[in-house]
Structures are given as structure tokens and as C-alpha cells.
């Protein structure tokens, strides 16, 4: 199996993050690496930069990682997590401007076919383009 772009799901809620990852695995299959994180380290709602970095590492692929986020802080914390990666890996992670559930399923579907990171991001963002 050739490498496929990895998918990271970042929600304020661990339930939403886990549920979205479950949908991706059931609908798209196991050939795409999916990692998720949700909630802050205290168990409340929120997002955490270290947990996002862990998720990026868990989903890591030489072809890159596409990150799907929900509201505000999930996006800014994901961007911060990307900034904290080593420079060589930074360019291989993108935060997609897409609805979290639909974007994750579509990005993973595209990734499963072996598409590039740019193609995966474009497909996830098709839903927000109109």
C-alpha cells in the first residue's frame, strides 16, 4: 500500500472528535490514518496545542496530514500546533477550511485514492467553496 495523506480531527468536544473519526473509519475504511483530539486536558470543552501535536504525530504520513477543525479556537490552536512542528514538517500539514464531519469524510475518501495533500485539502474545501 502506498502512503496516503493522514487525517487529524480537532474538536472542542472529545465526543465529537471521536464520533467523527468513527464515521471516517466506517465509511472510508482503515487505509487512511485518522487521529483525533477533543477537549482540554482537564476533561472540559476546549482544544489543546500539545494534544493536537500528538494527534498530528499519530496520523503522520510522508504525504502529509490534513487537519479538520470545528470552531474558532480549534483552528487557531491547530495553526499554533503546526507552527511548533520542526520546519521540515510544517509544510506537510494543512488546516482545512471545511465543516468538520463532512470535510473529514471527503478528505479521507480523497486520501484513500493516494491523492496529494493539496488535492485532499481542495476536496475537503469544495463544500465551503460555493
Amino acid at each position: 500500500m502506498t502512503d496516503t495523506v493522514g487525517i487529524v480531527i480537532v474538536s472542542h468536544s472529545s465526543d465529537i472528535a471521536k464520533g467523527t473519526a468513527d464515521m471516517v473509519r466506517q465509511m472510508v475504511g482503515s487505509e487512511v490514518k485518522v487521529a483525533f483530539c477533543g477537549g482540554n486536558p482537564d476533561g472540559g470543552l476546549g482544544t489543546s496545542v500539545p494534544l493536537i501535536i500528538d494527534a498530528i504525530n499519530a496520523a503522520w504520513s510522508p504525504k502529509g496530514v490534513a487537519v479538520l477543525v470545528d470552531l474558532g479556537g480549534a483552528e487557531t490552536n491547530s495553526e499554533m500546533a503546526v507552527e511548533m512542528l520542526e520546519p521540515a514538517r510544517r509544510d506537510l500539514v494543512v488546516v482545512c477550511n471545511a465543516p468538520i464531519v463532512e470535510g473529514a469524510v471527503m478528505a479521507a475518501t480523497e486520501a484513500a485514492g493516494g491523492s496529494s495533500l493539496a488535492q485532499v485539502k481542495a476536496v475537503a474545501e469544495e463544500l465551503s467553496a460555493d
Binding site: M27, M106, A112, G113, S115, V123, L127
Partner: protein, 100 residues
């Protein structure tokens, strides 16, 4: 847009037997299978004005094909004949798990 002067176009029709039509899960399976072929592949609900790129999961999900409708498939390119056969089989067999 698919027609190439030098490329033969293969077509197929298949009835959508899935109970709730072309919803998300079948759409993902159809798109994943289509992506395994080099051919350019388009689908539409029979008689619809526009053909849809079978490799675009967003567009396939949005086509809203209903249970019992007929899906038209056309493809051009080196493996077009096999692509049409595979997609017809997927739809006719009601998107079995593990397919695509």
C-alpha cells in the same frame, strides 16, 4: 468534456437498488472505486441535464439519486471498459461492505 476524438466512450446503466438511494456511504464507495481507474468517469441520474465526475465525492453525495432510479455511467480512457463494468457491478450488488 469527456469526449476525445481518439478515445472510445464506454457506457452503462444500472438501477439503484439501495434502500435509501445514493446517500453518504454508497457515495464514498462509488468514489473510492472510481478513483482506482485512470479513465475519466461520469455518472448521472438517467436523464439529468449534467454529468457528474464520479471521482468527486462531494458531487456524488449531492446528486441525491433516489431508490429505484437508474444511474448512467460513462467513461473514456485506457481502462474505461473495466471501470464501467466495476461501477455497474458495485451499484447492482448494492454497495457491499469491502467493495471500493
Amino acid at each position: 468534456m469527456l469526449d476525445r476524438a481518439d478515445g472510445q466512450i464506454f457506457t452503462g446503466n444500472v438501477r439503484l437498488v439501495h434502500a435509501v438511494g445514493m446517500h453518504a456511504r454508497p457515495a464514498v464507495k462509488l468514489t473510492k472505486l472510481a478513483k482506482k481507474f485512470q479513465a475519466q468517469i461520469s455518472v448521472r441520474v438517467a436523464g439529468a441535464p449534467e454529468w457528474i465526475n464520479a471521482k468527486s465525492v462531494a458531487k456524488i453525495m449531492a446528486m441525491r439519486a433516489a431508490h429505484g432510479s437508474t444511474i448512467e455511467i460513462k467513461a473514456s480512457g485506457s481502462d474505461a471498459e473495466a471501470a464501467v463494468a466495476a461501477l455497474v457491478d458495485l451499484v447492482a450488488s448494492d454497495f457491499p461492505d469491502g467493495a471500493g
